[in-house]
Symmetry: C3
């Protein structure tokens, strides 16, 4: 695959209920990525999960206060990812960050069909 | 882990609103993968995200015309993935494709419980 | 990135409709991971997909009996992942397990904001 580039896949696992400056943390992180020139980000919401507390949270329990797991996925240059990591860690009070090397290909067409 | 095989994890990030031949692009891609003999595919829908335009799209805004991010996940042989890449790129007008090497184990039991 | 550790990303692709001991398999797996001391797990539910049968299942079809794809994501030590693999395979009658090496950083703050 010749025209793929090497990039870093940054994945952030956190709780829907975590907050940063009076707003949901995941929204604040997306805004931060956008302001720092990242090309894109995708936020996925889980239906069940658990973190360090060990308590299983689930959409099944009809406990509408349950904080479901959130996963933010970002593929970017290693430099940009490393530059934002300290700030992400400052914003997060719990959760998990994973890094992987991936090959990526951005698709940008002049005249989308 | 002895009986795992090496495979390629293909991940396709695109917009829910993108179309191909009068249908949603993500549906057309799933159909294409199926017709080309891929063993499986999983389509995830995000609750928020942004792409190259920089505009944040979100399920929170109650803007029902918002095009949410879609992530298609496929684990397959490198040959099969490489063979379909040119066609995927022809179908996509925006978005991102990532490739990773992973170890996989397909589970197929004769008598599922 | 100095204080990241190497870990194994375990991803389990299965059907929402699969069962284990009279309950949904994905719930049983999450419970099993929790009981075995895993630090966390995230369960994502797809909107469409297909497996070995080749039949496309979709949330679009308004077929409420459709079994949608489930993806369970876990980042853990290689030892813990390898120890649980035989039991996961015993529980699953279909689906796919993938393993990847990733760098991870757990965030645990004494006084979450």
């Amino acid at each position: 695959v010749t025209d793929f580039e090497t990039a870093t896949l940054l994945r952030i696992f956190l709780d829907e209920g975590e907050r940063w400056e009076h707003r949901p943390l995941f929204e604040a992180i997306v805004e931060e990525l956008r302001r720092n020139g990242f090309a894109g980000a995708t936020v996925l919401k889980g239906i069940e999960g658990f973190g360090a507390s060990g308590a299983v949270r689930s959409a099944r329990t009809f406990d509408y206060s349950a904080s479901l797991p959130i996963l933010i996925e970002v593929a970017e240059s290693e430099e940009r990812v490393h530059a934002i990591l300290p700030h992400l860690r400052e914003m997060m009070s719990g959760g998990l960050i994973t890094l992987e090397r991936v090959r990526i290909r951005l698709i940008r067409k002049a005249n989308p069909s």
